[in-house]
Subunit: 387 residues, 4 copies
């Protein structure tokens, strides 16, 4: 009998090299851990039960001089472990050249360099088998109103995405792009700050079908938004291409806690939405963690956090399934008339004139309780393991 | 010589009846001011220099018994003062029947009643000349994850909007709809919580051209978002149909302060975007205030706040124009390379292969200062009136 | 065998009459539920397992005309059920006379009326057996900087507290006062906005021993502060006289959710601190809930939320005890050197000169991992019920 | 005739070496500017009109090998320019040894090293003439509830402060300590998170008169608190020993913008409180800026921000004085009954029994408007320079 909370490849867990590899540099202090060799990361994550890794160009090949050698070692590690590369992305934020952004920097030379850097890494990503290419525009933004022409910036963002889509199409590559919104930090205000803004932007592209989202728990919660509700809207638009799971305590600096830490009830509903929320429209991609092991941890602590991210997901998945299968929950859902929302407001064949001719017993409708608290308490008791 | 900060009809200022008419009921206390007769509101706002008023059905005609009489008195007041009705909206949040929302209530009967209530008021709005019809879905949302099927709710929202668009089209009415996003309050999490989410949603409608946004300063700032940047994106999508100006102090309860109070630097950049931000893509609608005179004020204080909203806008408009006309600002914009962002990243006739063949002096680009602080300080000095 | 999560009198749960009695009036809508007779509240709460009730003067005796009759009925209900009155407080926020506050209103006449209102209700509270008298200064504050002289306001607050302390001392009453901080809502900025500000203020009173705190979960979390850490500091000062448990989702409007909803991990650590956090310095008062059953609920839903507040507390209490008793947790606490913080930094008999003479292997100390994540994961697994 | 907005030594402006010297390392990217020699910083700040500098030990003497030489060069620069050192502080956050804090680290060895590091730098500070010694405990805190025993941590914090106070007393040094609160970042939750918590803590020390506060604008605003109100309370307690001026946009990461940027209306009221808010209880220390020139700036931009901090202060000081001197403001203050709050609520010789015997015309008092908006609008017009 296996522990249901121990991950297997079938669970499709994935980690960024930069997560377990984070050395702990922040605004107020230096590195607390040594550089982690990507090859070691691959082996350790494989042992822990992960199915895939993801990377920024600079995580994997920080130095052109050793580029081919590092790529070869990495390929070998993948082959030895069976781990996949499912997603890749470009570091357009670390080097000082990107201090005003990459694809929307005021400086055209920087934009050209940024675009070339993305293209170069798409080739690596494609060669390594990644099918999702993420763009997180952490430095695309401004600290003050006059310094960034937002319309021009969105024009340039669109230009870049259109060029990138054309590139992968022309190369015949099976790659989709996923935008990762964030409201602020490190820039004062970042362009495309939420799931919504990025979804809207995609609608203006030449190849909107090739572009979707990679929403991160903490980024939405930094704006006080409900992540589960946000990804439900992304799924509704058919745009939940990828996810970044982690933990956060509301509007403050980007905490990047392990999944489950922070807003635990939010994590339950997040898994519920990913599994289809009882309605069938589920997320079918890798379960990707994007977090930072706190600076207090040595490497043992780092691996503990990686293990815990997966374990917490599996625990929550089990609880969500039990919640959705519980007959008392079915009763509570019915009492809360949740299913009734799937019924069109206007009846089949009915006209607005018909609807307007109807009389409404407003006071009687107003008096009906919705019984939402009972339903939510049942969810809480599944989460707490007391049902 | 006239005071440049005294409003005239040409400034196209507009107020909701519910703003100066707010009686001060909140979660913790009762009314502090008597009901304001809409007729008196019209006369006082006209005297103060406003050009238009807006209304919820329940503001204007709270009681069916006196409906025609109240409408007639209101029409007379408009005729006497020359004030326009430029926008109208439906109260789908005040009555307990809407405790779980209107157009996305789980209860289908409530949704039908809500839809009928909107249709009825669209007829009034059209008859009074309104060309914008706002939908603020303040009760469309949930306090907990399981109680609202977000995908079904968005289906119902879309169904409603599609029906409403078809209705005004079939009636031949020159009315556009404007969605007003809000992240939370009075519901725990409101559907379409930001400008971005609402823009994305519009893309899924049958008649997207008929639907745009009515973003409110405070609502975006409650999510820690930059309002000026948000409406700049809305303008970029061609969707800034209407605006709600007021003041707020970041993530907390909805303060609805008079315009200028709260985030004053944000107000400067808001006016800058509305005037076109030096780039020509300007807002051309009414300048509408949606705020609540604090409970500390008697009716004299209420009129003082209405006067101040308009005056602050005119002061800021003058300062923005001076900022954009200042030769030193032109120098600073050039030094900050703001205009360079309007130049496409890829040259005319250039290919990605050409771009990739280029070599980049990354360190030299990284060393260039952006001079953003100088530009922002110039803006601040215009704002402070010390240039 | 009894359900360990069903409350008994020994658990000392207490509810404000205004919690289950909240009718649902908010800024955007009217009452959704009928007035709840305090006598019915007493009977229902007793049946559910509560041990005590608390009240504002206006909850219990809204009308002078029926005052004695209502008090008699209430006394009878207490006698019949055995419920205690453990705390009382004054409504200094509901009536428009308090629109600028009560004890710190600019208007001296209002301050005098407020003080008289408090005194009158202290007499009732004392007669009904309350030993804690709470002051929540929700309207003590300002929307703008010039309108409130903060130093004078603190002088008046101090004057009021000094007078109230003298009054109960002179009357020989066994009553202590508890200040309830809140950062904002309904005022823009409230005086004594956090646990810390109120603790500091108490230090300036004539009888500081007679005054402590009544911190509310949601109020601290509205400022993004950690409630468990805040009440731990209050306990350290010997000032945790009373508590208000509920739920909140970070900086936004005051949600007043049932206990457990909102920040569930925070609720676990809150109960841990109340029980002494493994260190023995525990809270020994009533476990008081101050929340608002959502407007979506009818009276059945209201009682469901009251039941759930107590049940969630009992579930968390059981989990906290299991966490603190778990040998693996003891190991993890040792690995995290948590107990080492109780050892004075300077040794017994040691001087600073001795300490300065010591050499430090800084790099070795820097390399030690703290193993905090393992410990936190163990807590999470107790919370989730998977250990 | 001199420009009233150009600083002179009499204005007593002061800058941390780490402000203009910030190289731009953040969580997401590396240094954008070269190291700034403290000697150059002194000369440039002197030229710009500053009166003093402040430092962390590691800013000034990063390396023991060159310690005496660097101190000598620094002393020479001070002598040449006439700049004072008015405050100093210890870096207990940068080195990985402080990853769990300094004075409240779980690891006793770390605490001992931290204490020795503080003592060593107090000697330097005293020798250089600093009279204020700041303690910012940015790493004193935790990411999770079980890992830090808050009561033990406060015991250790108190032990450290008591030892430091005794040290400077015994050395006969004219130095006071100033605690700098912050709610979070870089730790998840920092001990003594606000002005209030730190004030309360000071009350438990052996020598409370020797310890006060150094509140920073952005730190309080990260908790959504009103900085001007916070320092007004600190002044009321006699504890505003020092200030850190900068700019912030509410709850989010620590932005450390130049003074004036961020919440400009808040900056106006901050200066008003520092000048005594019309009541005479003013701040009399140095006007110290603690900010970070954005990464977009080269060194020219850095000096621009330093210049702008001082200029904005002087502009606001002039406006505040004009506001307080304006006869119409005097009228508005009277109409708002602001001065009436200085009158004790209980009359001279009056008893509570007298007060309770009084009858109150509650409805008449409730009907009085407070006229706060008129007063606030006058302040805004002074700020905008349109009066």
């Amino acid at each position: 009998m296996t522990d249901p909370h121990t991950p297997t490849r079938e669970d499709r867990f994935s980690f960024g090299l930069w997560t377990v590899g984070w050395q702990g540099v922040d605004v107020f202090g230096g590195a607390v851990r040594p550089r982690l060799d990507p090859v070691e990361a691959v082996h350790r994550l494989a042992e822990l039960g992960a199915a895939a890794v993801t990377f920024h160009d600079d995580d994997l090949v920080p130095d052109d001089a050793t580029r081919e050698q590092e790529l070869a070692r990495f390929r070998d590690a993948l082959a030895e472990t069976g781990l996949a590369v499912e997603m890749a992305t470009t570091n357009l934020f670390g080097h000082p050249v990107f201090k005003d952004g990459g694809l929307t920097a005021n400086d055209r030379g920087v934009r050209r360099y940024a675009l070339a850097k993305v293209l170069r890494n798409i080739d690596v990503a494609a060669e390594l088998g990644a099918r999702t290419y993420v763009l997180w525009g952490g430095r695309e933004g401004a600290e003050s109103g006059g310094t960034k022409d937002v319309a021009a910036a969105l024009d340039r963002y669109r230009e870049s995405l259109d060029l990138l889509c054309a590139y992968v199409r022309e190369q015949g590559r099976d790659i989709r792009f996923a935008l990762e919104p964030k409201p602020n930090e490190p820039r004062g205000d970042i362009l495309l700050p939420t799931i919504g803004h990025a979804l809207a932007f995609i609608g203006e592209l030449e190849e909107p079908d090739r572009v979707g989202l990679n929403p991160e728990v903490g980024h939405e919660e930094m704006a006080g938004l409900n992540y589960a509700q946000g990804i439900a809207q992304a799924l509704w638009h058919g745009k939940l291409f990828h996810i970044d799971l982690n933990g956060q305590h509301g509007p403050r600096f980007d905490q990047d806690l392990r999944f489950g830490a922070g807003n635990l009830r939010g994590a339950f509903w997040t898994v519920d939405v990913l599994l289809g929320a009882g309605t069938g429209r589920a997320y079918d991609g890798y379960v990707h963690f994007d977090y930072k092991p706190p600076r207090t941890e040595d490497m043992d602590g780092v691996w503990e956090t990686a293990r815990a991210c997966m374990r917490n997901y599996l625990v929550l998945r089990e609880k969500v399934r039990a919640f959705r299968a519980d007959p008392e929950v079915a009763d509570a859902l019915a009492a809360a008339r949740v299913g009734e929302l799937a019924v069109p407001t206007l009846g089949d064949g009915e006209t607005l004139a018909d609807l307007r001719a109807e009389t409404h017993d407003v006071e009687a409708m107003a008096a009906r309780g919705m019984h939402f608290e009972r339903l939510d308490q049942l969810a809480m008791e599944h989460l707490l393991g007391v049902r």
